[in-house]
């Protein structure tokens, strides 16, 4: 899916790198014991360290280190057994220490790879440049008071992983796929909940363009704080077009930080290079270099779950699913678990059809995760069993499924209560078939004269006569036999 912007002077391709800030799932903050939960009252989860009080010192939260290593392993990345925390110095009201503790030259995780599942079933490798740990800042609220700004330090000090991709992405769609895949991996690993709406995953996009076929990297602009997959794609699209327009009119792109205005559908400068901060990074003298051994990494490695790429490969191999179908199922770990519970001991393709179409439709309509699906995997499995043992026709099963959604009941009870059993008693169906043939001599004549396509009409009549409970397969068998000239 090559993405080309047609210009007057050239065809342009876009070069994109993403920086994702992912909030680490941990009980406490990166360097303090204060709670890292979301949604508490303002300034209720702030330790003296988070408030930058005099004489307070940071102490690394070992669990956050484990989470970063776990994520690095999930990104098939190099784990650096020695990394260094550095101070990034700048003044802002919601950053009490006057610096952010981050990692600069020596991050905890080095180069890795994320594989995108392309719509055509192919995969595409996107390089990860690095992952480092850093503190989040607090929150400034400027619209609560006419002249004052309000500061909430609950988020101050919460652990973030900054995950930086290489400039390997070539279209807004790829950027979206990358974010979704990254989020899927983080959720599998339980290292970040990936909720962009709550801000626990945020994205900055570095965008530049170049003539198709060129290998140069032109001046990039960084679009900050994109908080949905959709906005990331939109912002890149607008920014790339802006670059093309500037180049085509003979202008120059300045390296700068920009913000995306979703309402106006444009990016605009946040601060230009001349006002760019000099962050004066230097190793934080309050913290020793972060060091751990092979055993620490091996212990974490042993607890890794099966990740989406491996699961997808297994689904293709073991269940005979297409790459696309497997990709859809494994994107969400709970969906994959659900599918496997349904598919176990059953026809996997049938199970996939039911999960991917019927179940996902319900989830989309109700906007709930699969863990809150009113039809449990066990119940859906039993429904498929009722089809395969001929108790229900596929059509009847769909009706039963609707009732399962409404009531949450087991399909067996619904079948019992409503007497919905498929009639597989040949005698009963035969009587209905005979009656229909007797009553419709004209149609029978037409059929026998060669208009075989009216077979469907006959089946429909039999079904009607049996309140839809007849086995469609038996109906056709009998009709074919009895209508034969």
């Amino acid at each position: 899916m090559s993405y080309v912007i047609k210009g007057d002077t050239a065809d342009w391709e876009v070069v994109i790198g993403l920086e994702v800030h992912a909030q680490v799932i941990a009980k406490a903050k990166l360097f303090s014991g204060a709670s890292a939960d979301f949604g508490a009252g303002p300034n209720t989860q702030v330790s003296f360290i988070d408030a930058g009080m005099p004489g307070m010192l940071p102490v690394i939260n070992g669990y956050c280190v484990e989470q970063a290593v776990r994520t690095g392993l999930g990104l098939k990345a190099k784990i650096n057994q020695r990394s260094v925390f550095a101070r990034k110095n700048y003044f802002y009201a919601d950053m009490p220490q006057g610096y952010q503790i981050s990692q600069c030259d020596m991050p905890i995780v080095g180069e890795g790879t994320v594989y995108l599942d392309m719509p055509d079933g192919m995969t595409r490798a996107i390089g990860i440049e690095r992952l480092h740990l850093e503190q989040d800042a607090g929150k400034s609220i400027h619209d609560m008071h006419v002249t004052k700004s309000m500061i909430d330090l609950n988020r101050s000090g919460v652990a973030l992983m900054e995950i930086v991709s290489k400039p390997d992405l070539r279209s807004p769609e790829e950027a979206g796929l990358y974010l979704k895949k990254l989020r899927s991996i983080l959720r599998y690993l339980r290292t970040c909940d990936g909720n962009m709406e709550e801000g626990s995953m945020r994205c900055d996009a570095n965008v530049s363009v170049r003539p198709v076929g060129s290998n140069e990297l032109r001046t990039r602009c960084e679009i900050k704080n994109l908080n949905s997959v959709r906005f990331v794609a939109q912002a890149i699209e607008h920014e790339a077009k802006r670059h093309v327009d500037v180049y085509e009119s003979g202008g120059k792109i300045e390296q700068e930080t920009r913000l995306y205005d979703a309402n106006k559908g444009e990016t605009r400068p946040m601060r230009s290079k001349e006002f760019a901060h000099d962050y004066r990074y230097f190793p934080d003298p309050d913290l020793l270099p972060l060091e751990f051994d092979d055993a620490f990494v091996a212990k974490i490695k042993a607890t890794l779950p099966e990740l989406p790429d491996d699961k997808k490969a297994r689904f293709i191999a073991n269940y005979g699913l297409s790459a696309y179908d497997a990709g859809v199922l494994v994107a969400d770990q709970d969906s994959a678990v659900y599918f496997e519970a349904v598919a176990k001991g059953r026809d996997a393709k049938v199970a996939n059809n039911w999960v991917s179409s019927n179940v996902f439709a319900v989830l989309n309509a109700r906007n709930v995760p699969i863990t809150e699906c009113p039809v449990s995997a066990q119940h859906l499995g039993r429904l498929l069993d009722l089809i395969s043992d001929n108790t229900l026709s596929t059509r009847m099963a769909k009706d039963v499924f609707e009732l399962m959604i409404e009531t949450g009941k087991d399909p067996g009870s619904i079948v019992e209560e409503r007497g919905l059993k498929q009639i597989t008693d040949t005698g009963a169906i035969e009587a209905a078939v005979d009656a229909i043939i007797a009553q419709n001599a004209d149609k029978v004549a037409q059929y026998r004269a060669g208009k075989v396509q009216i077979m469907g009409w006959f089946v429909g009549q039999v079904m009607k006569a049996t309140q839809g409970n007849a086995s469609p397969a038996l109906c056709s068998d009998l009709l074919t036999k009895k209508l034969a000239p």
């Binding site: 004489g55 010192l57 003044f91 009201a93 009490p96 006057g98 230097f282 309050d286 913290l287």
Partner: protein
């Protein structure tokens, strides 16, 4: 009855245990002395009520046999240590009125040992200075007077050294039995030398930095300031120990420093670094250093001439590393959450920062923030900060190499005795040279102590510095005690 302010910590401890007097009496005697010595300006905040309450509690524990190692001992706390509910200023206007809701680990340990805090001691602003002249709360006077100067005139006022000038003056003037200091480049040792007391900077990582207002995190280290070597050993033991709240605090057991005393120096090799004897070294300082070498020799030690080749680079290295860290450490003083804020209406957040910091910091602090900001800036970082770190490693290696040949190193503590308080002090380089002998050990993180060794020809105290390898404070104390015994340093006569 003997004047209760005449005792050492060791003597007071033993007599309190024997019920010869009460902790409250001891505290009251010192509070009275403090009142009389107000002119020294040694304290920024006095806490008489807190002190008397704690002294009474000490008496109760002394009676029930649950006394701590420093039970009922009146001490002063440098105003760089955060003390719960008691104003902590770091000698700066920007923290005026700041009452921390927490107690620093070191002052908490002293409280737990039963020590009674009489107040918060004056100091150079944010510990930046060598004369106590940068304090927003005014200079401290050295209780010592020069023979050549008229004692009751401005010309007779001498500086106590710095930055722990209030601590040194209060201990020397018998206002407290001991005091905490902090040492970043010599801030315990140099004022100890100027005021004729013992000052110990332990190994970096020995005392927790938690709750101490940070100046330069990789150098800052708390230590005791006392009138005797034994008192310093007793007090250091109560102050130090691993603290999980400070990542740079060492997870090591605390030795019984007092038990190391009395072991003498027989068989020890004492390094005498040739680089510490530059051309033009003050004659009295040189003479006293020679005397110190002889005392140790007499006690059975072997002097060995050694070389610490990177000594001359220590001061410039220090004045890159320390300001760099300070420029970042002091960013939190922005007027937003605690301390002083300039309330004149500004038009922006940046303006509020600028006005608050312009009004809140003194000239020396501003100078160091500027230097630190400069050396960390893009384009200069490698040339200054990175290079300084490399030189720092070489300086540390000098000491490592030296300690493969010797057990301790003996040097002068400071290049001069105390100088005039009202004289010209506006040349920062001249002021920085005060720390030329103390800074190398700070950069190397090794322990160092200053012992009062004699008086110069003007009757002013001079100290000798003893350095040992990391975590070997015990050898340092042994050498210090031999020097102390030999020097028979005249205790300051305090007017009754």
């Amino acid at each position: 009855m003997t004047d209760l302010t005449s005792f050492t910590i060791a003597a007071a401890r033993d007599r309190l245990a024997k019920n010869e007097f009460t902790a409250l009496e001891l505290t009251d005697a010192h509070l009275k002395a403090m009142e009389k010595a107000k002119g020294l300006n040694a304290f920024i905040t006095t806490t008489a009520e807190v002190a008397r309450t704690r002294a009474k509690a000490s008496d109760a524990r002394l009676q029930t046999g649950t006394a701590g190692a420093l039970e009922g001992i009146p001490i002063g706390i440098k105003d760089l240590f955060c003390t719960e509910g008691v104003q902590t200023t770091a000698g700066s206007h920007i923290l005026e009125g700041f009452k921390p809701p927490y107690e620093s680990t070191v002052s908490q340990k002293l409280r737990d040992a039963g020590a009674v805090m009489l107040g918060k001691l004056n100091m150079d602003e944010f510990a930046m200075g060598s004369s106590n002249g940068t304090s927003y709360f005014g200079p401290v006077k050295n209780p010592w007077k020069a023979r050549s100067r008229p004692p009751d005139s401005e010309a007779g006022d001498l500086v106590p050294g710095g930055s722990s000038g209030g601590s040194a003056a209060a201990v020397a003037a018998h206002l407290v039995l001991g005091a905490t200091g902090t040492d970043t480049g010599g801030s315990i040792r140099q004022p100890a030398s100027f005021c004729g007391i013992v000052g110990v900077k332990p190994t970096y990582g020995r005392c927790s930095r938690w709750g101490i207002v940070a100046f330069a995190s990789s150098l800052d280290q708390a230590g005791p300031m006392t009138r005797t070597v034994r008192d310093a050993a007793i007090m250091l033991k109560a102050m130090c120990g691993h603290d999980p709240k400070d990542s740079t605090s060492a997870p090591l057991a605390v030795p019984d420093f007092e038990a190391a005393l009395g072991k003498g120096v027989k068989g020890l090799r004492i390094g005498i670094p040739k680089e510490y004897r530059p051309d033009g070294l003050n004659a009295d300082v040189a003479l006293l250093w020679d005397a110190g070498v002889q005392w140790l020799k007499d006690a059975g030690a072997t002097p060995v001439e050694i070389s610490l080749p990177h000594t001359k680079s220590a001061l410039p290295t220090y004045y890159i590393v320390a300001p760099a860290e300070a420029s970042s450490n002091l960013a939190r003083y922005d007027g937003l959450r605690f301390g002083q804020r300039d309330r004149t209406m500004g038009n922006s957040l940046d303006e509020m920062y600028a006005k608050t910091r312009a009004a809140g910091f003194g000239a020396e602090v501003k100078r160091r923030i500027l230097i630190g900001t400069y050396v960390l800036s893009a384009g200069y970082y490698d040339a200054y900060y990175v290079k300084a770190q490399k030189v720092r490693a070489l300086i540390a290696k000098d000491f490592t190499d030296a300690f493969s040949k010797v057990d301790a190193i003996l040097t002068p503590t400071a290049p001069t005795a105390a100088f005039g308080l009202h004289g010209k002090q506006d040349d920062p380089i001249a002021m920085y040279l005060n720390d030329v002998f103390t800074v190398p050990a700070s950069l190397a993180g090794i322990p160092g102590a200053s012992v009062p060794a004699g008086l110069n020809n003007d009757g002013l105290p001079l100290g000798l510095q003893v350095l040992t390898k990391r975590w070997d404070e015990e050898t340092m104390f042994r050498v210090c005690q031999v020097l102390e015994d030999a020097a028979r340093f005249p205790t300051l006569k305090v007017a009754p």
